[in-house]
Assembly symmetry: C6
Homo-oligomer: 244 residues x 6
C-alpha cells in the first residue's frame, strides 16, 4: 500500500512511513488536544513539502478565527491560498441546524449532500490530494438513531474516498477517561488516531495513539506529544510515563 508522509515529526515514524494513500482517517480528541493543529499541519506540509494541494473543510470555527488561531505557528496560509495550494471551505454555518430542517430527515440528508458536493467541487478544482473535515461532530449529532448515524458516516467516508485524496475527519472525544466507549466512526474509517488526556497521580498526561491503520504495520502504543511554536511533535520512542 502506498503511503503519504504527514511531515509531522514522529507521526510518520509511528505510522511506519505515513498515512495509507487514498484512505479516510479519523482523528479523535478532547477540547484543546490538537486535532485542528495536526490536521492543518498535514495539509500545510503537503502543500509546502510534498507538492500536494489540500482542502480544509471548516465545520468548527470560521476561517477568520482559524487563521488567527494558527497565526502563532508561522504558517503562511494566505499565501498558499493565493497560490491555490490550500483551500478553506467555510462550512461553519452547517454547525447549526435550521428549525425547519429538524422537521424532516430529508432536509438533513440534503445538507449532507450539499456538503459532499462542495467538498467534491473544491477538491477537483485544485486537484487536491489531501482533504480535512474538521469536525463532523455537529453534523452527526442530528442523526439521533445509531443506524442512521452509521449510514451517514459511511456516506461521508465513501464520498471522500472516491475523490482519490487522502482524508482526515476529526471528531470529538467526550470523556477524559483512558478507558472509553468506542465510537461507530472508529469502526467505519480506515484508520483511527486518538488524542488522550488522562490523570496519573495528579499529573495530566497527554498522549497520541494509532489505534487502527488498515494495511499499515504501525506502532500501537501511547506516545507523548507536545505542541511547539512550529506545530505538533510526537516522541515516537518514549513511553508516556517516562516523560511524565
Amino acid at each position: 500500500m502506498k503511503k503519504i508522509s504527514t511531515g509531522i515529526k514522529g507521526l510518520d515514524d509511528i505510522l511506519g512511513g505515513g498515512l495509507p494513500s487514498g484512505r479516510c482517517i479519523l482523528v479523535c480528541g478532547g477540547p484543546g488536544s490538537g486535532k485542528t493543529i495536526l490536521s492543518v499541519q498535514f495539509l500545510y506540509n503537503g502543500a509546502t513539502k510534498y507538492d500536494e494541494t489540500g482542502v480544509y473543510v471548516a465545520l468548527g470555527e470560521s476561517p477568520v478565527h482559524l487563521k488567527e488561531d494558527l497565526g502563532s505557528f508561522g504558517w503562511d496560509i494566505e499565501k498558499l491560498e493565493k497560490d491555490e495550494k490550500f483551500v478553506i471551505l467555510d462550512a461553519s454555518p452547517l454547525r447549526t441546524i435550521p428549525k425547519s430542517a429538524q422537521l424532516s430527515l430529508g432536509s438533513q440528508n440534503f445538507r449532507m449532500l450539499s456538503l459532499v458536493e462542495a467538498i467534491k467541487s473544491r477538491t477537483e478544482k485544485i486537484g487536491a490530494k489531501r482533504v480535512v473535515i474538521d469536525s463532523i461532530s455537529s453534523l452527526i449529532l442530528h442523526y439521533p438513531d445509531e443506524s442512521e448515524r452509521r449510514n451517514a458516516v459511511l456516506d461521508l467516508v465513501h464520498a471522500v474516498t472516491v475523490l482519490g485524496a487522502t482524508s482526515i475527519i476529526t471528531t470529538e472525544l467526550r470523556a477524559t477517561a483512558l478507558e472509553r466507549e468506542i465510537k461507530t466512526e472508529e469502526f467505519l474509517s480506515d484508520g483511527v488516531i486518538v488524542f488522550h488526556t488522562f490523570n496519573e497521580r495528579g499529573r495530566l498526561i497527554r498522549a497520541i495513539q494509532i489505534e487502527k491503520m488498515r494495511g499499515v504495520s504501525h506502532d500501537h502504543q501511547l506516545r507523548p506529544y507536545k505542541i511547539y511554536k512550529d506545530g505538533i511533535e510526537i516522541f515516537s520512542k518514549e513511553s508516556v510515563l517516562a516523560r511524565a
Copy 2:
C-alpha cells in the same frame, strides 16, 4: 494573536501571557470552586489596572448578594460602578422560567434574544472590553435536546464575540470525579478553564487547568490554587500533589 492580561497571580503565567483578545472563554467548576471570584477579578483588574471597562451579567445571584459576597476582598465595586467602569446587569430573574415559556420554544429563544440585546446595549454604552456571563447553566437547562443546546450556546458565543470584547462564560461542573464527561460548551468556545476538586487518599485537592486556549501556547497541567483575602492565586510552577 493579541492577549489581554487577567491580572490574576499565576493565571497569566499558565496562559502564556493572558486570554486571547476578543474571544469567548468558558470557565467550568463545581459549587464553591471560585468561578465567580475569578470572573469578577478579571473585570476588576481590567477596570483598575488596564483601563478596560467591564460588564458582569449576573444570572446566578442577585447583585445585592454578589456585592456582599465579594465584600471581603476589598474591591470597591460600587465606586467603579459610579465611574461607569464596571456595570452589573441583573439577569438573575432569567434563572427561573415562566410556566408559559415552557409551552413554546419560541419564547425561550425570545428570552435568549433579550439577554443578548441587554448585554449588547450595556457593553456598547460603556465601551466594555471585558464581559462576564455568570452562569449559563440555568439558561441552557431549558434546551432539552442536545442539538438545540449546541445551537443556543453557539448563538450566545457568537453574540458576545461580535461585540469585540473578551468574554468569560461560566458553567457548572456536575461531578466531583477527575475523569469526567466533556460538555458541548467546551468544544464550542475558544478556550476552556476548568476548576477541579478531587480526592487523593482522603485529601481534597483543588486545581485549575487550562484545558484549551485556541491560538495560545499554554500550560496544560493541573495547578494548585488558593483563594486569599485579595482574590484567587494560581501556583503556576507547582504540581498539585506536591502542594497537597
Copy 3:
C-alpha cells in the same frame, strides 16, 4: 459579611467564624450522617447561647419522634418551646403527596406555597433568626423535570432568605461514593456543607466538608467528626485518614 456562630465545636473554626448571616445553607448527607443533629444543635445553641430564636420545620419525622430521638442529647427542647425560643412546625404530612395533587402541577405549587406561608408566619411570630427545613428531598421528588425542580428550589431559597433569618435546608445524599454527582441545590444555595461516608481499605470514614460558603473564607478540606452525648463535634485540625 456578618457571621453567626453555630456554637458547634469545630464547625465555627472551619467556617472561619460562622455561617453568613441571612443566607441559606444546604446541608447534604446520607442516612444517619447527622444532618438533623447538626441542624437542631444550630437552633438550640442559638436559643440558649446567642439569644436567637429558631424555627424547625419537620418534613422528615413527626415532632414526637424527633424529640424522642434527640432525648439522649440532654437538650431541653420542650422548655425552649414553652419560652417561645424554639418552634417546631410539623410539616411531616407534606412528605406524602395526595393522589389528586399528582394530577396537577398547580396543586403541588400550592403545597409549596402553604409551606412557605407557614414558615413565614412562625418565623415572624417569634422573631426567629434561625430557620431549619429538614429535609426537602420528599418535596423536590415531586418535580420530575430538572428545570421545574430548579425553580422550586429557587423559590424556597428566596422565600427563606427574604425572612432575614439564617437558614439551613437539609437534603439527602443518594450514594456512598466520595466521587459523586453534584446536585442542583448545591449550585442554588449560598453555602453547602456535605457529610461524607466512604470506604478506605475496609474502614468506613465519616467526614464533613464545607464545599461552598459565599463571602466566607473557609476551610475546604474533609474533616473528621463524631457524634457525642452532647452533640456533634468536628475535628478542625485533623485529616480524615490520620484519625482513621
Copy 4:
C-alpha cells in the same frame, strides 16, 4: 430512648444496647447475607429470653420452606407457635401480582392495605412486641414511580409503628459494590442495618454495619460477622480486614 435487646451476640454491643423500642428498622442485604436469620433470631430471642411475642410476616418464602431452612439452628419454632409466642403470617402469595392488579393502582394499594390489616390483627391477637416483615422488595417493585414508592414505604412504616411493636423490615441490596446508591427506604426508616459483601484482593469480605439508628449512640464501622449453628454472631471489636 428505651432500647430492646436483640439477644444476638455482638449486635446489641454495636447498637449501644439494642434497637430503639417501638421503631421501625430496615435491614438491607444481598442474597444469602443473613437477613432472614437475623430477623428470626430477633423474634426467637424475644420469645424465649425476653418474654416478648413476635410476628413474622413471610413475603419471601413459604412458611414450610422457612422452617426447614431454619431447622439447622435448633430453634423450636413450632413449639413457640403452639404457645402463641411466635406467629408466622404467610404472605408469600403477595410476592406475585395478579394481572388484573397491574391495571389499576387502586388494587395495588388494596393489597398493601390487606397486608397491613393482617399484620395488625395478628400483632394485636398475641400482643406482639416484635414484628418482622421479610421482605418488602417484591411489594415495592410494583410502584414504578419514585414518589409513589416513597408514599407506600411511609404508609407501611407508619402502620407498623402505630402498633407499638419494634419492627424489622428487610429489603434486597442489588449490587455487590461497597460504594452504592442509597435507597429511599433507608431515609424513611428509623434505623438501617446493612449487610455488605465486597471483594478485597481476591477475598470476599462479609460485614455488617449500623448505618443509622435514630436516638441511639451506636458504632458506625463495618464489623465482621459469621453464621454459626446457633445463629448469627457479630465481632463487635474487630475490623473487617484484620479478620479477613
Copy 5:
C-alpha cells in the same frame, strides 16, 4: 435439612455436604465458565453413583451439539439414556420466540406453561430426582417488565420445586466485573452458585462461589476451579490469588 451429593470434587465440601434436597438452585456464569459442565456432571453423578435419575432441559444447545461437546469427558450419556436414567428434553426451539407470540403476553405465558408441563411429564416418567434447566436467559428476556419477570421466575421455581426433585437452573452473567448488579433470580431461588471471571493485574482469575444456600451452612469464599478431562474440580481449601 437433607442434602444430596453432587459428586463433584470440592463442590460438596464447600456446600457442607451437598445441595439441599428438593430445592431449586441457581447457577450463574459468563460464557465458557462451565455452567453446563457442572450441571450435566450433577446429573451424571446422580445416575451413575447415587442411583438418582435426571432430566436435562436443553434450552441453549441442541442435544446433538451438547453430546458432542461433552464427548471429551468420557461420560456415556447415550447408555444412560437407553437405561432411562438420563433424559434430555430438547427445548432449544423455545430459545427463539415466534413473531406472533410477541403480540400477546398470553402466548408467552403459554410457552412457559408448555415447558413446565413437558418438564413435569419427563420427570414423573422416570421418577427423576435431579432436574437441570440450562439456561433460562432466553426465556426471561421476553418479559420486559421487572415485576412480570419476577413472577415468571417464581412460577418456574415453584413448578420445579413441587416435583420434589432437586433442581439446577442456569442463567447468564452479563459482565466480567467482580462487583456486579444482583439479579432478581438470585433472590428468588433457594441457593445461588456463581462462576466469576475477573482480571487481577493482567491475569484472568476464574473462581466459583456459593453466594447463598438456604438451610445449609456453607463456605462463602471465592474458590478456584479447573475443568479437567473428567469434569470440573473445585479447590475447596485454596484462595484464588494463591493459586493464580
Copy 6:
C-alpha cells in the same frame, strides 16, 4: 470432537489443537485489533496448507480495499480466487440499510435471508470447509429489541452451522476496558475469541483470550499477540504483563 487447525502460530496451541470442526466461533475486538487479519489468515491457511476452501463474507470493507489492506502480508489471494479456493462475497452494501427497510421488520429479515442464501450458494459451489463473516455489527444494529437480536443471531449461527463448514463471525467490541458487558452473541455461539486492549500504568496492552470453546479443553488466559509481516502470532506461553 474433531478439530481443525487454524495454522496461526500459537493459536492452535491455546485452542488445544484447533477450532471445533463444523461449529460457529465468534471473534470480538476493537478497531484495529486484528479481527480481519486473523479471519483471513484462517481461510488462507486452510486453502494453502490444509486443502480446505474458504468463503469470506465482506460486510465491513469492499473487496478492493480488503485486498489492498492485506497486500503487505504477501498472501496471494487473487491466485486463490482464480483457483476457486478462496471466494470473497461482497456484502458491503448490506452495511447500510435503505430507508424503506426501516419501515418494516419484514424487509430487514428479508435482507438477512438474502445474505444467508448468498453464503449458502457460495459455500456449496466451492465445497467450502471454512466460512468467515466479517462483521455482523452493522446488520445486528438494525434489531433494536434484545430478543429480536437474539433471534437474528441464532438464525445466522444456525444457517452457517448447517452448512457443515467451520465458521468465524466477527463482531465489534465497544469499550476499551478489561471489565466489560458480555454480549448476547457470546452466549449464542459455540466459541468466543476476544481481542483485548487495556491500559496498564500508561502502557497499552494487547491480548487475545479464548473465552469459551465448547467441547475443547483450552487455555483461558490472556495471551500477548503481535501482528507481523506474515500475519498474527500469539505467544501462548507468555503472560501479558511479562511481555509488557
